[in-house]
Amino acid sequence: MAGTGRTAEKVPWTKREHEGLAAGLFLLPNLIGFLIFTAIPVGAAFVLAFYDYDLLLGASWAGLENFREMFTTDEVFRAALFNTVYFTAVSVPLSVVLGLATAMLVNQALRGIVIFRSIFLLPYVTVTVALSLVWKWIYLPDIGLINSVLGVFGIAGPPWLTSGTWAMPALILMSVWKGFGYNMVIFLAGLQSIPDHLYDAAKVDGATAWRRFLNVTLPLLSPTTFFVVVISVISSFQVFDQALIMTNGGPGTATTTLVLYIYQKGFQSFDMGYAAAVALVLFAAIFVFTVIQFMFQRRWVTYD
């Protein structure tokens, strides 16, 4: 470019430069928001994690003390880490399978199918706090919907949300119900991008519906599945609202998740430094999981 002899006054901008400027301007609003509300706080959290920072008393350098405490004496952190992994390990497979199943179910050219698609998506677009309140009633031990139905079959249901054993499964069930609709929509888009002629070819070759699903649908859907799994894992690691509203992390620490713990430490106990340290660990966990998934995707994800 240098040495072409053009000057700013004489030569108009190239098309490329125009596009660059336009792109920059279009990105600006989002970029500013991202900087102010995400990048800077995240950067600050990285620093604060190494401080003993009381929200009102100020900060003093703590080195690795927060992390030492977290991994040696803090039983609540250990429980929260376990609970978060438990929640993710159970809810992600369930909501992915359910999302795929319903996507196939509603991927048909029937009259009014749009209504069904909307119904499945409805829980996802509803505010979690509102759903949590409704599910609290559903889970009530005596008069709740679930135990009433179980009672019809002579089964005495547990006190779901106050049982150390059942509180977490109860949260998972509610979360899967709430979240699978999103996966359904993504899968639906994936399904509709699979060309019909591949199915036709498979049929000609005499493949059963099951074979067609296994050998055409699944492989061609693998990029979609990969996306859905990555997104689901990330959002599951950040589960918070349900635990706060339905159980407040209890009984004991049975449903205390990492983000709930971060909230309690930072905003209820004024211990921002420690909260930042836990947030950093959560960030690292999500980062590592995502990297691992990207590493393993070569083995099972096929891009045509």
Binding site: L55, P141, T162, G252, T253, F267, Q268, S269
Partner: protein, 433 residues
């Protein structure tokens, strides 16, 4: 009892909370200007009442305009601490005594003594002593109260009549044995009727611990004393009511209004809570009810008395105007308005007579408790690390209320953590002095 309301109660004896040099009457501004007032409010009705008071300030002192900022009680404390951290808090700040030590030591409010001394027409003695103590620290008062409440025993008259049981006497507290016996008689598990209900949080067993002769920490605030025989026996007494099926089973750990809502249902004989629930019970119940003093344990009928009030922010540029507004907000006529709206029991003695048409019939009990004619009203003493203590207690005590762990098991778990938080508390006090 509603934990939110319980927490709203006052606490005093904030030992050793030395405020940083806290020069009063900062910057200019005079006695006019626009002030921000931050307050909690959970319902539109409540907000209306507070807004009315803010307008009263302007009516009585046209130079001052007060802008009310409300947020729910649960969110208020998160918001306030964030605002203080960024030095953006309102000029007039609502404060609850249980949280007073935590905020006082962090330099959130100005000492009010200089204002009181400069203001000859102002009589601070009109405020009940427990609320003055509750909003003070080291003899230094940081806020003027608007309400005060000892924890009372609420009872459902209809259920007592139905079971043919004598109601608790208003003048002499019933004994623990009588209390338990009464609860047993009122319980009808088939009809899902129970003699008693308790909010599943630590705060709601404090009255029992005190009446049993125990305490949660020593006077020096250096050691947790939940492991004493008296404390354990008292906790076991109240927990056994749940595990023996004469108090309602706990079905919700996340609802801060669990117990009071159970009481609203009309299937609960007795419940302990503060006088701020008068209005809520009136509105939400269709049965006859009344109040009595707390049952007397081995150490008598000892109840935590407390309330909330308003203070002046340490960073305000208009402290003198804030003081003028503060006086109007907590004046006898303002508190009378609050009482008429059912917003608790007034912090000033001169506002008490506004209770003219009480339910409850036994409303006099409240004043008798406050001036120690019946039992003992004790300030709910908290520490600078109380927020964290509350979170820890909430977490670790929940299995006890569910009958999953014994009181002793949980005390073994809680004591070392409580001791550690008290150590931190002492360190914070040292750092600030």
């Amino acid at each position: 009892m509603n934990r939110r309301d319980f927490l709203r109660m006052s606490g005093a004896g904030l030992a050793g909370v030395g405020l940083l040099g806290a020069a009063a009457c900062g910057g200019g501004g005079g006695t006019s200007g626009q002030l921000r007032w931050s307050m909690w409010s959970d319902t539109p009705e409540e907000t209306k009442v507070w807004k009315g008071l803010a307008e009263d300030v302007h009516k009585k002192n046209p130079d001052i305009t007060v802008k009310l900022e409300t947020v729910t009680f649960a969110d208020y404390w998160d918001k306030l601490s964030t605002q203080i951290a960024s030095e953006n808090e309102a000029d007039i700040v609502a404060m609850q005594s249980l949280r007073m030590p935590g905020f006082a030591v962090r330099g959130a409010l100005q000492p009010l003594q200089p204002f009181i001394e400069d203001d000859s027409g102002f009589d601070v003695e009109d405020f009940f002593e427990p609320i003055r103590d509750g909003l003070s620290s080291e003899g230094e008062i940081y806020a003027l109260g608007y309400d005060i409440g000892p924890i009372l025993l609420y009872y459902n008259k209809d259920l007592f009549n139905k079971a043919g049981v004598e109601p608790p006497p208003p003048e002499t507290p019933m004994s623990w044995d009588d209390f338990r016996g009464t609860a047993e008689q009122l319980t009808d598990q088939g009809a899902k009727e129970y003699g008693f209900v308790t909010q599943p949080v630590f705060d709601s067993i404090v009255p029992w611990i005190w009446s049993g002769g125990g305490d949660y920490m020593n006077a020096a605030q250096t050691e947790c004393t939940l492991d004493t025989a008296e404390s354990i026996a008292a906790m076991e007494f109240v927990i056994s009511m749940i595990t023996d099926g004469i108090a309602a089973p706990i079905t919700d750990l996340a609802n801060t209004s669990f117990a009071i809502e159970e009481f609203f249902s009309g299937k609960i004989g007795m419940h302990i809570d503060g006088p701020w629930q008068f209005i809520n019970i009136k509105e939400n119940s269709d049965f006859e009810w009344d109040v009595a003093p707390l049952p007397a344990g081995p150490a008598g009928s000892v109840t935590p008395a407390a309330g909330s009030g308003f203070g002046i922010s340490n960073t305000t540029e208009n402290a003198d105007a804030a003081w003028e507004a503060l006086k109007i907000l907590t004046s006898t006529s303002s508190l009378e308005k609050l009482v008429k709206a059912g917003r608790g029991y007034p912090a000033r003695e001169s506002a008490v007579p506004t209770f003219e048409n009480p339910p409850p019939d036994n409303v006099d009990v409240v004043q008798k408790i406050l001036v120690s004619d019946i039992g003992e009203a004790r300030p709910f003493v908290t520490t600078t690390t109380w927020q964290e203590t509350t979170v820890m207690m909430g977490r670790d005590f929940s299995p006890v209320f569910l009958g999953k762990q014994s009181v002793e098991e949980v005390v073994d778990k809680v004591k070392p953590q409580f001791d550690e938080l008290l150590k931190e508390h002492q360190e914070i006090l040292e750092k600030q002095s």
